[in-house]
């Protein structure tokens, strides 16, 4: 089979694939950053006794974690234009969807991270006169984030793989680019294999970094 493998189509379609990959990476980075920020706020809302706000945060997280991602992607794609009044495009829709969806998962990680910080640390922050936000921002969250960094990154690897689902709404990510290139050159096998190799290299590389990080954090403790 490899004898029929045409490497020339890969070089020919490289610029096109590159664009798809860039969008996949951009989507991952934005959804990770936004997801961690929004997720942390959700975690804080759940852990503080804020009544309805805590309840809403809990519901949001549980809802997002109970619906298949593909459905959320399709759903947001249909619903967002109804809210904004104008179509925002598959790429923007994907960015909003992934940020909102990943926030639920990052929120669970940050919640565990916040809970891993001893209560005495919060007391110490309050005792020198810092308020809730100052104590969270300077004492609790930096430590929670550091403790959870390997798990946050592992979630990001999963996120990067999941971004391939946006091909369903026609957003041009790595997978979609490979599919289009495969069709254009009539060489789908080559292009899908190439895309798979790129996913593998990036995810494997990230996993390696996570492993190294875990060892380093273990030493610091």
């Amino acid at each position: 089979m490899l004898s029929g493998f045409d490497f020339s189509v890969i070089t020919a379609s490289l610029p096109f694939i590159r664009e798809g990959l860039l969008f996949s990476v951009k989507l991952t980075v934005i959804a990770m950053t936004g997801g961690i920020i929004f997720g942390t706020l959700l975690a804080m809302a759940r852990l503080a006794n804020l009544g309805p706000l805590s309840l809403a945060a809990t519901w949001y997280v549980n809802l997002m974690r109970s619906i298949p991602l593909l459905m959320v992607i399709l759903w947001f794609f249909l619903v967002i234009p109804l809210i904004t009044g104008t179509p925002i495009g598959a790429e923007n829709s994907a960015i909003v969807t992934f940020t909102a969806f990943e926030a639920a998962y990052y929120s669970e990680i940050m919640r565990a991270g916040i809970q891993s910080i001893p209560k005495g640390q919060v007391w110490a922050g309050y005792a020198i006169g810092m308020n809730y936000w100052q104590t969270m921002g300077n004492v609790v969250l930096p430590q929670a984030f550091r403790n959870m960094l390997p798990i946050l990154l592992t979630q990001t690897i999963i996120l990067f793989q999941d971004t391939s689902l946006v091909y369903a709404i026609g957003a041009k990510d790595l997978l979609k680019a490979a599919e289009i290139a495969g069709k254009n050159y009539n060489r789908p096998v080559e292009m899908y294999v190439f895309a798979a190799i790129i996913y593998f290299v990036i995810c494997f590389g990230l996993s390696y970094i996570v492993k190294r990080l875990q060892q380093r954090i273990a030493i610091i403790r």
Partner: protein
């Protein structure tokens, strides 16, 4: 003049009553030692003073400020009351210098370099000038607790609370911490100290409070307490910790 007034306070954790109508006061410049068996409510009592724990009944007044008034600015109040914990509770992700500077910058609004200058002076005072750049994890327990005292002093507190500051320390490190505390007491700092170090109590305390099962059982001048405590519980407790 009263610095800390504790008026008939009661506190529950769920169904469990941890404090039972405790009443006492600490005057300006006074050093009061609180002792009693484990679980008697000592930590809870002093955490109520700076509202780290809320109370359900009674009233606490610190320097004229009603601690349990919902209108009270708690962060402001807490910045006036220094607190030192049994397990130090330094911030492990920051250097020693930043630990001492944090509150000055965030709460007192000092410029970072101004705060650092002051922190260095305080670290010098507790004998830790050479450790400013280290992280707490690199210090011994005794050194960490002295940093914690410097961190509390950095806020220019009007009184200080200590919760068993030496009971997590190896015996050979207890004195380096007590020495700093004795010095503070001799400079006239108002202090409420939970400790079983009766040597410290005899040296600098003005009064000794003995707690048992959430209640203040004895509240005597030091001389009376060590001379002849009135309650049998306190006598038993004293003989236990003085003869071992």
């Amino acid at each position: 003049m009263a610095m800390i007034e504790i008026k008939s306070i009661s506190k529950w954790f769920g169904q469990f009553q941890a404090l039972k109508e405790c009443t006492t006061q600490v005057d300006k410049g006074e050093v009061v030692v609180v002792c009693g068996p484990s679980g008697s409510g000592k930590s809870t009592l002093i955490k109520c003073v700076n509202a780290l724990e809320p109370i359900q009944q009674g009233e606490i007044i610190v320097d004229g400020i009603r601690v349990n008034d919902p209108k009270t600015d708690l962060p402001k109040l807490r910045s006036l009351v220094g607190m030192v914990f049994q397990h130090f509770e330094l911030f492990p992700h920051m250097t020693v210098l930043d630990n001492v500077s944090l509150g000055q910058v965030k709460v007192l609004g000092r410029k970072p370099d101004e705060a650092a200058e002051n922190s260095k002076k305080l670290l010098h005072r507790v004998g830790l000038s050479h450790h400013a750049h280290k992280h707490p994890g690199q210090l011994s327990g005794g050194q960490q607790q002295r940093v914690a005292i410097a961190r509390a002093l950095a806020m220019n507190p009007i009184c200080m609370l200590f919760d068993e500051p030496t009971s997590a320390l190896d015996p050979e490190m207890i004195n380096e911490v007590l020495d700093v505390m004795v010095e503070l007491a001799q400079e006239g700092m108002t202090m409420m100290v939970v400790t079983h170090e009766m040597g410290f109590a005899k040296k600098v305390a003005h009064r000794v409070i003995f707690m048992d099962a959430g209640a203040i059982v004895e509240d005597d001048k030091k001389e009376e307490f060590f001379g002849s405590p009135r309650s049998e519980r306190a006598q038993q407790f004293l003989s236990k910790i003085l003869h071992h």
